[in-house]
């Protein structure tokens, strides 16, 4: 009864193993590699671009995730209010998440265009700036621009998932807190947040995983440029393996992401466990 197992073994477990193995070989496109031990990793460790991509990936993930969480939680709380056209608003909010990222990234590319950027146009008309901003040409500007695009895409996911969590919190808890004299901010800290923690942990794990391994946005917006300032590990491994033909090196880069992902998963798993216990102990 398990054709799924077969397919997953062939196309998931096996590639995962194969990828790790390729990382230890000097395979090129069209040529099977031989075992070279840790050479790829040593080479990458000494490679300034690879180290830069690690920094970029961490920076990208941390900044984007923190902002996605903050904005997502805020949006979720707003959506949880009694507002008109609730279901319509909720559907519209999720739109950035469901359209193909590659295609919405094109829209951002156009929005960030050095000569015709609509943001620059507006700011110039408002008289806030004099020259057009070079969104994707300057290293730091490019980093922040890609992060902004990533946040734009990720906030709806975080918000809708957290909204689902918020809706499971019984209103009577807030009433009880209000009767006890809790201010709105206190209600948030002592009622909403503790009850939401388990779902926050899961949602943010997903968010961090997908941000860390992001590929499409960068590939479309900058291809890693300017001066490799926006290269993430995923885009660099694509460039090295498919563009440059060095499969082994690319695979090593991709494999190097796994420890970070595992760390994120374990962090949230143990965080979640502890919170669940605290809740059980606190409530009963």
């Amino acid at each position: 009864m398990l054709p799924a197992t077969l397919l997953l073994l062939l196309f998931l477990t096996y590639p995962l193993g194969l990828g790790t193995w390729l990382g230890f070989t000097d395979a090129k496109v069209g040529r099977a590699g031989v075992w070279v031990g840790l050479d790829n990793y040593e080479y990458l460790f000494g490679d300034a671009v690879a180290r830069l991509s690690l920094f970029n990936t961490l920076f990208y993930t941390v900044v984007a995730s923190v902002l996605k969480f903050g904005l997502g939680l805020w949006l979720a709380i707003l959506l949880n209010q009694n507002i008109p056209f609730k279901s319509f608003v909720r559907a519209a909010v999720l739109l950035p998440f469901i359209v193909p990222t590659a295609l919405s990234a094109i829209a951002f590319w156009w929005i960030y265009d050095a000569q015709f950027s609509i943001i620059s146009w507006t700011l110039v008309k408002l008289g806030w700036i004099d020259t057009y901003i070079d969104f994707l040409g300057d290293p730091w500007m490019a980093r922040l621009s890609t992060i902004a695009a990533n946040i734009w895409r990720g906030v709806p996911f975080v918000a809708i998932c957290l909204l689902a969590g918020l809706q499971t919190i019984s209103p009577s808890l807030y009433e009880a807190a209000a009767i006890d004299g809790a201010k709105p901010s206190q209600q948030f800290w002592y009622v909403t947040l503790p009850l939401l923690t388990p779902i926050i942990a899961v949602v943010m794990t997903f968010s961090v995983l997908f941000t860390f391994t992001d590929f499409q946005l960068i590939y479309v917006l900058t291809r890693g440029g300017p001066l490799n300032a926006t290269h993430l590990m995923a885009t660099l491994s694509f460039q090295r393996a498919i563009g440059g033909g060095a499969l082994g090196e690319g695979a090593a880069l991709a494999t190097a992401m796994i420890p970070f992902l595992l760390a994120a998963i374990l962090f949230s798993y143990f965080g979640l466990q502890r919170r669940a216990w605290q809740q059980g102990g606190g409530d009963k």
């Binding site: 009864m1 398990l2 054709p3 397919l7 997953l8 196309f11 998931l12 477990t13 590639p15 995962l16 194969l18 069209g30 707003l78 959506l79 209010q81 009694n82 507002i83 608003v89 909720r90 519209a92 739109l95 950035p96 469901i98 193909p100 990222t101 590659a102 295609l103 919405s104 094109i106 829209a107 951002f108 156009w110 265009d113 015709f116 146009w121 906030v155 809708i160 689902a164 807030y174 807190a177 209000a178 004299g181 201010k183 209600q187 779902i199 794990t205 997903f206 391994t213 992001d214 590929f215 995923a234 491994s237 694509f238 393996a241 499969l247 690319g250 991709a254 992401m257 992902l261 998963i265």
Partner: protein
Amino acid sequence: MSKEETQDTGGMNYLVSLPRRVVIVYIPLLVFLLVLLFPFYWMAITGFKPNAELLSRTGNPFWVIAPTLDHFKHLLFETAYPSWMWNTVLISTVSTFFSLAASVLAAYAIERLRFYGSRQVGLGIFLAYLVPPSILFIPLAYIVFQLGLFDTRWALMLTYPTFLIPFCTWLLMGYFRSIPFELEECALIDGASRLQILTKIVLPLAVPGLISAGIFAFTLSWNEFIYALTFISSSENKTVPVGVITELVEGDVYHWGALMAGALLGSLPVAVVYSFFVEYYVAGMTGAVKE
């Protein structure tokens, strides 16, 4: 606002005064909506703009004075766009149905057939869902090449299920768990086989779950980028996202109008499917995250 008033209104939203509500709820919400939806508006308006308007710096760029269908015409008749569209539809549909079928069997087996280690398999499925494509594409490219599937639609139809099956299985496991055991026991007593139970009892009850999983899987495979970019090289086999990115960008001359029109047309189908099944989609997304 004084402290006493805040205390009075706390928790009971209907008591919050209107002006205050406008400031703390409606204005932020409006800003969120504007920012989240602006790129789509911009995509649409650019798609209809004639080139002259696109490149002029005078006038109001937020509006289009002489809308034109030129970009769409160019896209549909002078590029391989229609065949990318057809590829995407075909690949998404096939891999979705394939994954659903496999996932139903897998989820049912994990949930109901009490075999040794079923819990571990369930956990394994969840972990498999967390493996991101950007780690797998290199070894998968290697395998696809060895199987002689490189640059065929089969390459994508066979690899998309690697992220669809774990997701669908996980979602369906949750649904199957919510179906009462007793129904199946009744059917067993009446002499139904496992397969009959699955097709006549469990599946009809799990229809909402199937729709959720199907919609989600469809949009996921529609949006897939990195595999399609890596495994496909000839223009007529490309999917919409990859085709638009790789074929419509020629050198330094960006055909913004055509790019935006392509992005708009490529986003529409998922947006339409999504708008009909929002509730199922949200249920699928949040259902997969809960637990």
